[in-house]
């Protein structure tokens, strides 16, 4: 250090330092603003589309048609968008286990990478709703529980129950419980309207409001059951059933013992 510092007043120091600083800034900028090679990206994308197409032909085309045009038992997938595929396949609803009234949530058949490839393939057929990115889905930061609760009661509670526990529709159809559903899947359901559910457009319920709804659902999920068993959180029906069977059963037992003569 001492040896270096004796050159600090050398006349070459200032130009040298300037050159070093300029080089440093230039390199940093070029690294930071580097755009990946566009043709490589397109290549990776078309490879994903191709992989998705192969998966589609094997797993989906028997119902949805070789070109996703739909058939007698399954709808066309042209224009449904990546969000729809990510929701339906990512929650295990598709492929359906059987042709019953409603596709139900189950363990996904495909890996996340395969789901992504299928989504890219279906999205390449025609534009549709896209999968919301992690930056958009920052509901902890951008959502409000109070606003979400109001929106939920107005728009979701009639089918999904006021505590998001799910409820019955007609002829065996039902609105599923929202407990334990991934935020991205809740968001995708709102923008795509899967099965019986209607679409909630971004102008009607803005993306921020959708995040508030998700934040409310997550806070409802984390609500501790202070009284012990929450009994489905559906209110007086299950609570009444428990009181009338277990509670009054115990009281009857006690009354019988009270009136029994000792031997």
């Amino acid at each position: 250090m001492k040896r270096l510092s004796k050159y600090r007043r050398h006349r070459a120091v200032a130009p040298l330092l300037l050159i070093v600083a300029l080089l440093g800034i230039g390199t940093t900028f070029s690294v930071a603003s580097a755009t990946p090679n566009n043709s490589a990206l397109a290549l990776a994308r078309s490879a994903a589309i191709e992989e998705g197409k192969q998966l589609f032909l094997k797993g989906c085309s028997s119902c949805h048609g070789l070109n996703a045009e739909g058939g007698g038992i399954a709808p066309s997938l042209i224009g449904v968008g990546a969000a729809s595929v990510d929701f339906q396949v990512g929650t295990g609803r598709m492929p359906m286990a059987d042709m019953s009234t409603q596709a139900m949530r189950k363990k996904p058949v495909y890996t996340p990478e395969q789901v992504a490839a299928l989504a890219v393939y279906v999205a390449s057929l025609a534009p549709g709703p896209e999968i919301p990115g992690d930056e958009l889905l920052n509901y902890e930061r951008d959502g409000s529980v109070a606003e979400g609760g109001e929106l939920f009661r107005n728009n979701c509670a009639m089918c999904h129950n006021f505590a998001a526990q799910g409820g019955a529709l007609t002829q065996g159809k039902y609105a599923p419980t929202l407990m334990g559903v991934e935020p991205v899947h809740i968001y995708e359901a709102m923008i795509t309207g899967p099965q019986s559910m209607p679409v909630f457009s971004d102008k009607i319920i803005t993306p921020e409001e959708k995040l508030s709804i998700i934040k409310w659902i997550k806070s409802a999920e984390a609500e501790p059951a202070l009284g012990g068993a929450s009994l489905g959180r559906v209110g007086p029906v299950t609570e009444g059933l428990l009181v009338w069977t277990l509670g009054i059963g115990i009281l009857i037992g006690v009354a019988v013992w009270l009136a029994m003569k000792a031997r």
Partner: protein
């Protein structure tokens, strides 16, 4: 006659069965021990109550089978108190049943009536009291007392006013007028047709008037509307009702024509609207025709059009009263 029906003999009171503890000192000692055990269990419960109040933090949760994660503080407080109270009662009953005197007493039923002397005496006392108070003489007191008692009796009649006032024509009207904008609920944002995709719904209310800063609940209860967009070719409407839609967007009152619940369960695939209260089912494609359930009329449809700025507005007020039937309703 050989086979006379014999009257059933009065069986009398069954013989008294003595308990084992009455005759066997060993049994008595056993019963005593049992009672002592029950009382001791109660004491254990109280100690559990005290210990859990002091020792268990309020935010600790324990897993209990069937019940799931449960707050330990509350659980053990409740268990402790329940045990202490229950076993005091159980011990006392067991004591009474096994060890306390076991005499049977028979009491014959009698008429519940005072003797004639007592009854005469009571009437005389009442009359003497009234005479002593001077009710007959002091007419000022008698009249003012009559006035105050009469007024007290009148006051409940005043409360009958709460049955009114009559609703007038408020049940016939809603806030929707020709040109009222449809706004989102909540959010109060006006809506353009392109804001709704096919298959989309929106809960809407009429835009507030200038200077209005909130809506009354009774207004929301009549004004709430559900906006639905489907493909125009899905409609099966007559010409007038079709002219009330806009590019596949149709609007119905959300207030059920049966009992006034909010009809907002929309099944996108079947295009049915369901009422959550009594399962009335309405067909959106046929102007909310009733398919099932107790509703007697379709939901009133709100006629839509666009204003100069391209926002959805009501073309005219509702053509019929919304909500359930009422006495003066014309249809």
């Amino acid at each position: 006659m050989a086979h006379e029906i014999e009257a059933i003999q009065d069986p009398g009171i069954p013989a008294h069965v003595h308990r084992k503890a009455d005759s066997d000192p060993k049994e008595a000692a056993k019963a005593e021990r049992q009672v002592a055990i029950l009382f001791s269990l109660s004491a254990v419960g109280t100690i559990l109550f005290i210990v859990s109040y002091i020792a268990i933090p309020q935010d600790v949760f324990v897993f209990v089978p069937i019940m799931g994660d449960t707050n330990a503080h509350q659980l053990f407080l409740g268990l402790g108190l329940a045990l202490s109270l229950f076993f005091i009662g159980m011990g006392a009953i067991h004591w009474a049943k096994t060890l306390m005197p076991d005499n049977e007493v028979t009491v014959q039923r009698h008429e519940f009536k005072s003797s004639d002397e007592d009854r005469k005496e009571f009437v005389k006392t009442a009359k003497d009291g009234a005479a002593a108070a001077g009710l007959g003489r002091r007419s000022l007191i008698k009249r003012s007392l009559g006035l105050s008692l009469g007024l007290v009796g009148l006051s409940p009649l005043l409360l009958l006013r709460d049955l009114g006032p009559l609703p007038g024509d408020s049940l016939l009207k809603t806030s929707w007028k020709a040109g009222t904008r449809l706004v989102t609920d909540p959010g109060d944002r006006p809506i353009k047709p392109e804001d709704l995709e096919v298959g989309a719904v929106a809960q809407v209310l009429p835009a507030m008037l200038p200077g209005q800063d909130h809506r009354s609940l009774s207004d929301i209860g009549k004004d709430a509307v559900l906006l639905i967009r489907l493909r125009p070719e899905d409609f099966n409407l007559d010409a007038e009702r079709l002219s009330w839609t806009h590019e596949g967007i149709i609007a119905f009152s959300k207030i059920c024509s049966h009992m006034g619940c909010a009809v907002a369960l929309y099944e996108q695939q079947t295009k049915h609207l369901l009422c959550p209260c009594h399962q009335s089912t309405f067909d959106v494609t046929r102007a909310a025709k009733v398919l099932f359930g107790p509703a007697a009329r379709p939901l009133p449809q709100l006629a839509l059009t666009l204003d100069a700025d391209g926002y959805l507005v009501a073309k005219q007020p509702f053509s019929e009263p919304v909500g359930p039937s009422f006495w003066e309703r014309s249809s």
